[in-house]
Amino acid sequence: MLKKYMKTASVIGLAFAGSLLFVAAAKKTITIKGSDTLVILAQRWAEKYMQSHPEVVIQVTGGGSGTGISALINGTTDFANASREMKKSEFNKLKQRFNTLGNEIKVAKDGITVYVSQSNPVKELSIAQIRAIYLGEVSNWKDLGGPDAPIVVYGRENSSGTYVYFRDNVLGGKDYMSSMQSLPGTAAVVNAIVKDKNGIGYGGAAYAEGIKIVNVKKDDSSPAYAPTLESIKNSQYPIARYLYMYSRAKPTGAMKEYIDWILSAEGQELVTKVGYFPVN
């Protein structure tokens, strides 16, 4: 009896495994992992691309730029999405493991948006003022032309590329003050600001809904700009960055076709739809 069951079970098992293999062999799978800033855009790209290329399966997951790059180094993803440049140490690790140099592709442009509560009268801030807020040198809205209320500072978790970019480009590489509340994901920051009338936070433009976007000026004498297509394209908006996709080596085959499509007019049109800015 037992033997008979085992035979049947093994036959079913083999058939199942075989069919899985068959499906896997027939379709090309591209895995993409990384930046939470890029994850929505990457999913849109994947959906659109799979519609016209049914033979390709694209799996997109988030987790943060660092997560994606770690996965690339560990060989568990084909592309890493990143909202910061890959570090030299990370390139070195990649070289050690795979003996490849890594390949960087700029896929979109993003303006880092600074948000405050809708009820906050502060309309514009200079980079120096934002830096002072995040370093803890200014702690009351009164000093920035707002009401007499303490500033509650929100930021991203240290696993995020935005965290690193903001530190290097707005804080001049100095560390955030220790009482900054770090939240997982831009959506969580936006949500916190919606509920906190004295809050300030930063993140990608794609998530900015139901809050006030602060205009940013480079220094006290220059005009303040909102993060718009125009101002980011002309590099007038002072905190704009590229978004990247990294692969271990120069992409070939299905991966190359996908990248080419992303950089084509059709792919870049989706960039604008999601709320980011095309690379060119």
Partner: protein
């Protein structure tokens, strides 16, 4: 023929027994492997060769006051994380312990059968609540509520996290305490009532002290859960690594630090080793608590079986 059949039958039994034993061993092996893995990854740190030459990490630096792991000059002071964990755990237990023990006392000794049948399962359902749901509730509802009531500067703080955490801890303390009270011999209640004590006096002065060991075990189990809980504190405490004693400021707990940072960390980096070291600390802590709790529970059971009370 007959002989063979019999032997065959026994072979099956033998195999089945071994198979089940193997499955049981597997889970033990898994725990053991996890243990080895976690300890192994933190060893470079303990032996002091985790950092690259330019910034050496000593154990004294490890217990310093600044947790800035991702920086041009990273600092791995885990002291604020330890304080954070202790603060949140203390708040949650101060709230949860009295509520849970009194609730257990009520359902085990005073409540009518019908009330008990309603109250007990409801509290136990709370134990099955996904912690992410409790965290979400704290983030959206509790935080705003406490900010309005206490006029707080920070929405997300140790207090909010502690209150949310107590929701997860109450059912654990409740269940174990209730169990401890229920296993007390009936004769105790009867003797106390016969001596003229009221039911309330019996519960509070006779049954509750008699169940002390079980309640202590419940306390330790609740403590362990509270210390190790990640999702609720990650969502509700604001995650700023401060080492202040103010309960209305943000905290970053040890478990939340691992939860938030482990995914991103570069493998083999000093940051990676430090996170594993925190994992080891958490493990040692909860292992010790569980061992002590187990010891107390066992002792009580032994007494019961031997007829003592």
């Amino acid at each position: 023929m007959k002989f063979f059949k019999k032997a065959n039958f026994r072979l099956n039994e033998f195999l089945a027994e071994k198979a089940i034993a193997a499955i049981a061993t597997t889970s033990l092996v898994f725990i053991f492997l996890i243990l080895i893995f976690v300890f192994r990854e933190s060893i470079p740190l303990v032996l002091g060769y985790a950092m690259e030459e330019d910034n050496k990490l000593s154990l004294t630096a490890l217990f310093s006051n600044n947790w800035i792991p991702v920086s041009n000059h990273p600092q791995f002071g885990i002291w604020p994380l330890i304080i954070g964990s202790i603060k949140v755990t203390a708040i949650s237990l101060i709230i949860a312990f009295p509520i849970a023990v009194l609730a257990a006392l009520y359902t085990a000794t005073l409540a009518s059968k019908r009330t008990k049948e309603i109250v007990k399962p409801v509290i136990e359902i709370l134990a099955g609540f996904p912690s992410v749901v409790i965290g979400f509730f704290a983030l959206m509802v509790l935080a705003t509520f406490f900010q309005n009531v206490f006029n707080l500067r920070f929405r997300l703080n140790a207090f909010t996290g502690g209150v949310a955490l107590s929701l997860a801890v109450i059912p654990i303390i409740y269940t174990v305490t209730e169990e401890a009270l229920n296993t007390l011999p009936k004769t105790m209640t009867e003797a106390s009532l016969a001596l003229g004590a009221t039911r309330w006096e019996t519960s509070l002065y006779v049954l509750l002290p008699a169940a002390t060991q079980g309640i202590f075990a419940a306390f330790l189990l609740g403590l362990g859960r509270s210390f190790g809980e990640t999702m609720i504190v990650l969502m509700a405490t604001g995650n700023a690594a401060l080492s202040s004693t103010n309960i209305f400021e943000s905290v970053r707990t040890m478990s939340a630090a691992i939860g938030a940072e482990m995914a991103e960390v570069v493998f083999g980096d000093a940051h990676y080793n430090v996170l594993f070291f925190i994992g080891v600390l958490l493990f040692i802590f909860s292992f010790t608590l569980n061992a002590i709790a187990e010891f107390f529970l066992k002792q009580r059971m032994m007494k019961k079986f031997q007829g003592g009370a």
